[in-house]
Amino acid sequence: MSKIAVLIAVALTAATVTIVGCGGAVEQPAAGVATQPQASDAATAAPVRPSPLPATPAVTIVATATPRPTNTPSAAQAVTDLGGRLRIASVPPVQQLVGSWLGTTTAANMQVRPFSDPLIHTDRFDGSLVPGLATSWEANEDGTQWTFHLRDDIEFQHGWGKFTAHDVPHSTGLIVKEDAIASDTGIFRELFGNTYDDVINNVVVVDDNTVRYDVQVPNSIVDFFISAQQGNLFMYSKAQFEAEGLDGYEARPAGVGPWQFEERTLDVNLLYSRVPDHYRRSPFFEELEWVLIPEENTRLAQLKTGQVQIGEISRELHIDAVGSGLEVVQSQLPSLQVTFIIGGVYNPEAGSECADGGERCFYQPDEPHLDVRVREAINRAINRQEINEQLFDGIGQPHVVWGYHPALPGWNSRWLEEHEEKYGFDPERARQLLKESGHEGYKVKLLLTELPGVPEMIPMGEATYTYLTNVGIDVTSEAVEWSTYRADYYRPGRTHGTIAASRGTYRPAEITVRSYNRSGPTGFWRTSVDPRTDTLYDLATRSMDPVVKADALRELGDLKFDLYSEAPIVWLPAQLVIDPREVGEYVWPGNINASFTHTEYITPAQ
């Protein structure tokens, strides 16, 4: 018996030895399948053409009273035959809702926007603000009163009567309701009042076709918030509310959108039917169905077998999709910005008291990340080009200052010119900086988080684990749900010694700055590399002078860039996969966290 055992051991050793012996750019987004738009067939003014870089959206100052076309038409829009049911396979939204105040902007834009409109619409090519229910709008000199002139020919669906100015304060009040958890609930409360009744008082019905927002704090981008790009303000029928209450909305919401809500089954689908003769654009399909499929491979299989015509498929499976005759299309705008947030960077003015009486909140003088050399080292350690090419298939655009884009107000071309010099991948320099700072080998917890729209966030975090380890940082990592990161780390000011990936959308820089860098109750992260942040932010958001505003934002961006406030990685477009045998053109801006909007403009293949 013992000799048998010895023989077996020898055989195993040989196998083991065998094992041991084995030893141990940046591109512009593609044009997609969209054909270039042709001359307007309905516009009263020359249509705005898409440009290589998106035009600056109308987020600046007094919005024009000169209407632009409601949306830029294109040659593909000249279809004669309607399609049948357009089925889009999507990841189930975080909140399944028909009341826009009950979830995020992303969830509302997916589920509510088909059947109802915001006051101001967005152009599908460049994301700029274009007339919708409001034909024009203007603000007073100090930005405390915003007046909107409304169309007078709009009817609510399901026979709930005419859309008038009286529906606007009601719809706005829903956003600040006690149970509201909309993305813009906080900012709406700050601007228009804390309760439904406050809002009713502050949103004044001038006449049936004119409404005025009296803003409590001067704000230069109220039209942006009203446009639902950063919020959830869609028009609901006041008459239906008075007759049926919120239950009526849940059962059969009446909107003014191009689609009419028909039915939904939670976790399964949402179904809408076409509204003929819609004032903006009647859909090219008879019906629209969101098919909610959480599993990636199932969505792809449905696309391959023709059960859906459009699908949300991660980049990793695009090769398979294209190999099956499907096409990848992408949004017109760089809809998502991706970054790493360097934790613990709080100003002394932020205090160091914990709201819950615990220890280590906000400003801690021993925090290594307060040293600009450490923050530069982190930025130098990360190989952005490799991340873009290997994880994002090279579709990303350079991202140099978190929140800022060349097409948005406040941009400074110096940042891009100096980016390689100041942020270029240089592990040796990173090690040197850490040594000089005295924080060589300091401990960092890399929080692996994930948000919709960027499935690569976890692999990006894992790759960064390697980058940081390679320059001598003592990295541990922990996978945390976003809700945990929010509750345990950034909201209570306990991000010390952490680095976490985040993603934002394409929006005015001050929105991002407010969320991440502004101190006080209006901020979320409250990280700040310089005490001037708050002053500059206030100047930028309250001034109605575009020059003053842009200068303040630029100075704020300078601080963030020069002091390595964050570690921005890349700007990404939204992408989806279509079946070209069924779908002709889909052009959408993608600037609401990559949401798929403007479905009424999707054309069937001819």
Binding site: M1, S2, K3, I4, L7, I8, L12, A15, T16, I19, V20, C22, G23, G24, E296, N297, L300, S314, E316, L317, I319, D320, N383, E386, I387, Q390, L391, L448, P455, I458, P459, E462, A463, Y465, T466, T469, N470, S477, E478, A479, V480, E481, T484
Partner: protein
């Protein structure tokens, strides 16, 4: 020697005496004959896939399990076009070596299984012996606890625990112990009920032995075989469950190389010709280990159960 030691009736199965090696010779036929008598296949599999990698990962693993290079991401296995000998089983989405991660993942599985089974075994055995030997109210209480334990939806419990305290190996072990102790308690209690009515127990009581001593010295040795068999069969179950929890994000947190986590990491690519290996090989490792543990458990049961052996 105490009186009760002399009268104890050992029930542990004894090996059939083997003839001296010299009288048997060592040839291929002899080896095959011996191999048929023992579960060589499962043991070999276990050694190759689980034990050796777990014990010697630091020495035999070709790469660091947590570090990778994006430039080497999704390299195919060595036998496929584009594969290299540097990464025998290919690389994952961030360029980490899959073979290395399977080796270190084996360590995670072994450590988790051993600790969980050990703690659950001690807890369950103690409760089972006490319940079976004492009877009455104690028995009733313990058995109701067992019933409660068996009714807990374990995946749900794991998700709740993870939400409360975070994902970690400690959380996984806690969940596994909470799930498994009752299985030992129920088995051991049943065996104890049969043992306690034996004559040698009555004699030990007459001779003045304490209850604690009787449970430890007379009852426990007689239920030990069953515990070993159950523990062996449980290893596969524990590995499956640990992998399931990790797959669901309620187990070992990334970037730790746990098999379930690796399968989860590669599930998006499972049908893709450009990445099927990311989930395939850790899945294969799980299957082979569980299969061999079950085969080994069956063999042990046959060997240690006197009734089975007589057949």
């Amino acid at each position: 020697m105490a009186a009760d030691d002399r009268i104890r009736a050992p029930a542990i199965a004894e090996e059939t005496p083997a003839p001296p090696d010299a009288a048997r010779g060592i040839g291929v036929g002899r080896i095959m004959s011996e191999a048929r008598r023992y579960p060589v296949f499962p043991i070999l599999l276990l050694l190759i896939v689980l034990v050796i990698p777990a014990a010697f990962a630091d020495f035999i693993a070709p790469h660091d399990p947590k570090l990778g290079s994006l430039g080497s991401k999704l390299l195919p296995p060595v036998w496929m076009e584009g594969g290299t000998t540097e990464h025998l089983l290919g690389t994952d989405r961030v360029g980490r070596d899959i073979l290395t991660r399977i080796m270190y993942g084996a360590r995670v599985s072994v450590v988790t299984a051993v600790i969980a089974i050990f703690i659950a075994g001690i807890l369950g055995t103690t409760m089972g012996i006490v319940a079976g030997y004492t009877g009455g109210m104690v028995d009733a209480v313990v058995m109701r606890l067992v019933d409660i334990s068996l009714s807990i939806p374990i995946i749900l419990l794991a998700l709740v625990l993870v939400a409360a305290v975070g994902a970690s190996m400690g959380t996984v072990i806690t969940v596994l112990v909470l799930l498994m102790w009752s299985r030992y308690a129920r088995l051991v209690r049943g065996e104890t009920l049969a043992v306690r009515v034996q004559d040698f127990i009555a004699r030990a009581q007459v001779s003045g032995s304490s209850h604690r001593r009787i449970m430890l010295r007379h009852v426990f040795p007689n239920v030990f075989n069953s515990i070993i068999v159950l523990a062996t069969l449980n290893v596969g179950f524990v590995i499956i469950l640990e992998s399931t929890l990790s797959f669901l994000g309620a187990g070992i947190p990334p970037p730790q190389p746990a098999w379930g986590l690796m399968v989860a990491d590669g599930r998006v690519l499972i049908t893709s010709p450009n990445g099927w290996w990311v989930a395939m090989f850790p899945g294969l490792a799980i299957m082979l280990v569980v299969l061999s543990m079950n085969l080994l458990g069956d063999w042990l049961r046959d060997r240690l159960d006197p009734k089975q052996r007589q057949v």
